[in-house]
């Protein structure tokens, strides 16, 4: 998830475009009390010493730890097999033309990699110190197991529609899974609850937040809030963005989506390559930066709440970034036609690896080495993506421009992915059908434009809260259905070992 900032201080930190008061103030005033109450419920924090631990983060991390142990460290033992699957070693040539494992992975990754990987990490490192990086990696590592469980279930319990298309995701496995265990009514309830949550959450985290941040970036590189001609033209940017998104999701203009989906992975690689270059340009700062990560993680020097504070922030950033436990990726993975749901689970465990362990860590190192090389660097008052951008600029002066371009593309591809996740929640509630589809897509586009026009802090907070609220039924469902996943996993790996499932390539 490209959530740039941490949940609670969102309002204070977000540099949303300043626009004419009035309209957004009315909305803000009307929604602020609800948002505040709702946010305080979902992100209920337990104070531990000076640090505060949001229970929802605890819920996600405990779940991830449980699934890692229960599945016998599937995140390690499934890793090599995941790469073989993505390479197509086990793909039956007769099924060529169906969605490949690589395609499902690429689509799910472009839905999670984004502004959060660039800017969110900067916030985490500012607030939680370099030590947060270590806990970010640990949480990413554990999150791989959660992803494995939810994506396996997504494929196993999906619906195949009469027209041959498929619909899957947590709402389907929650409903069917609980029904199988004799809890029909509860299953229907949590399925619908999840669907409503993802439907509303998609409008914020996967939509308004993205278009808003894309606009902020755009203004920054075109001269900043003072000088840019676009600074007070949020409505224009918003409408253009809504039209582009609309032309893809409503108009079915595949070429735009195809171009973006092709560029995004290259952008991610481009980002990593340049980040590594920047890190190595500060090569004498590398040992110190790495040492800071470990000492910071243990001592939490200078961090509110000490080591525990660093741990909480690292964990929080990881779960916000890779979406493990939220169930969204499970919707994208359900499209793969395979007889073995476990294969999709195995492939999906690469997502937190790529998103959190690789990309987020690299960003953290860019900032880490920059602050070692220039001790006052982190204190200049830059925040989020601007700080990452500044760390790059120290070494490569022209980099902020491609970085802004990358950020906009990431935002766009996330909107496309989330429009689909939200739509699946919507169709789950209202049934499949062209007309109903269009209604949701039109609402989605409206919110794209709205995201750039008004400062919608409280509405964003509500939608954030919805996304994290759906972790509750999702993880609960995963606990209930984990034995099924375990059984399938053991059977699958046994058949790989015995040679019953055969390799087609690289034998």
């Amino acid at each position: 998830m490209k959530k740039l900032l941490l949940a609670a201080p969102t309002l204070m930190l977000m540099s949303a475009p300043a626009t004419a008061a009035g309209f957004d103030e009315t909305i803000n005033n009307a929604t602020a009390p609800i948002a505040k109450w709702f946010g305080s419920v979902v992100f209920f924090k337990v104070p531990i010493g000076d640090a505060e631990l949001p229970l929802v983060v605890l819920w996600l991390v405990v779940g991830a730890l449980f699934f890692t142990l229960y599945m016998g460290f599937i995140n390690i033992r499934g890793f090599k097999h995941a790469i073989q699957l993505v390479r197509g070693d086990y793909a039956n040539p007769k099924d060529a033309g169906e969605v490949s494992h690589f395609q499902a992975l690429a689509t799910a990754v472009s839905g999670t990699v984004g502004i959060g990987n660039i800017g969110g990490v900067a916030v985490a490192v500012t607030v939680g110190g370099p030590g947060a990086t270590l806990w970010l990696i640990v949480a990413g590592f554990l999150g791989m197991s959660t992803k494995f469980v939810e994506c396996t279930l997504g494929v196993k319990y999906r619906n195949e529609n009469p027209d041959g298309s498929v619909s899957g995701g947590p709402m389907y496995y929650l409903r069917k899974g609980f029904a199988e265990r004799g809890m029909d009514g509860f299953g229907k309830f949590v399925g619908a609850f999840y669907a409503i949550g993802i439907c509303l959450g998609a409008l914020g985290i996967g939509n308004m937040f993205q278009s808003n941040q894309a606009f902020v970036q755009f203004v920054n590189v075109t001269g900043g809030t003072e000088e840019s001609w676009f600074a007070d033209k949020g409505w224009l940017f918003g409408i253009v963005m809504a039209l582009v998104v609309g032309s893809v999701i409503i108009g079915g203009i595949k070429s735009i989506a195809r171009v973006t989906e092709k560029i995004v992975p290259f952008m991610a690689i481009f980002y990593c390559v340049f980040a590594l270059i920047v890190i190595f340009m500060n090569y004498d700062a590398i040992p110190q930066a790495i040492a800071n990560i470990f000492t910071g993680a243990m001592t939490g020097e200078g961090v509110v709440g000490g080591a525990l504070g660093a741990l909480i922030i690292g964990f929080q950033r990881a779960v916000f970034s890779n979406e493990a436990g939220i169930g969204s990726a499970s919707i994208a993975h359900s499209a793969v036609r395979t007889n073995e749901p476990v294969t999709e689970g195995v492939v999906s465990l690469l997502e937190p690896f790529i998103d959190t362990i690789i990309i987020c860590t690299i960003t953290a190192l860019v900032i880490g080495t920059a602050s070692v090389a220039e001790p006052g660097f982190a204190l200049v008052g830059q925040e989020g993506i601007a700080m990452t951008s500044a760390a790059f600029e120290r070494e490569i002066s022209w980099f902020p421009i491609p970085l802004a371009f990358a950020a906009m593309l990431f935002a766009f591809s996330t909107m496309i992915s989330w429009s689909y996740y939200g739509l699946k929640g919507w169709t789950y509630l209202f049934g499949e059908g062209q007309t109903m589809d269009r209604v949701y897509k039109a609402i989605f586009c409206f919110f794209v434009a709205l995201g750039c026009m008004v400062q919608l802090g409280p509405i964003l907070d509500i939608s954030d809260a919805f996304v994290f609220l759906i972790c509750l039924p999702n993880i609960l469902g995963l606990y209930f259905l984990a034995p099924i996943v375990k059984r399938e996993t053991e059977s699958y790996f046994a058949r790989i070992k015995s040679g019953e499932i055969k390799r087609y390539r690289h034998t």
Binding site: A91, G97, G164
Partner: protein
């Protein structure tokens, strides 16, 4: 044991010439023909989630269309030629998939038409016949 010849078909003039050539050879050598149509597709492309969900349906449509518009007319025209004709449609990289199909059908030879494109174009876009000649495990007849 009967011999099988694989003919690469894409609906072009060249592929029809290749078919005719293969028919003659097949009659002379008592061989069967398999007309192979490859739908250009890569497992490493990028798609939106919606495209993924509809992929199965699209694939079925693509295969049906290949049969209806390309393979069926050719098969019908060969009905009275006294040669046994089979068909196969597969997604993938053209030359690689033809090799794969040749292996599966245990083909003794592959027939393919050539487009006769300029060197510049071949340099830019490659040539299926050219690649096939390089990678095929069985003899390839390129029909001009």
């Amino acid at each position: 044991m009967t011999t099988t010849f694989l003919v690469a078909i894409d609906g072009s003039e060249g592929s029809l010439r290749a078919t005719n050539c293969a028919v003659e050879r097949a009659r002379a050598g008592q061989a069967d023909l398999v007309l192979a149509y490859v739908i250009e597709w890569s497992p490493y492309s990028f798609n939106t989630p919606e495209e993924l969900a509809q992929r199965h349906q699209r694939r079925e449509e693509e295969i049906a269309r290949a049969h209806k518009t390309v393979l069926d007319p050719v098969t019908a025209s060969l009905k009275d030629k006294g040669v046994k004709v089979g068909t196969d449609v597969r997604h993938g990289h053209a030359a690689e998939t033809l090799v794969e199909l040749a292996k599966e059908h245990d083909a003794a030879q592959i027939f393919i038409g050539r487009k006769g494109e300029s060197r510049m174009k071949t340099l830019l876009f490659g040539s299926v016949a050219g690649t096939l000649v390089q990678i095929s495990p069985v003899p390839v007849t390129v029909v001009p």
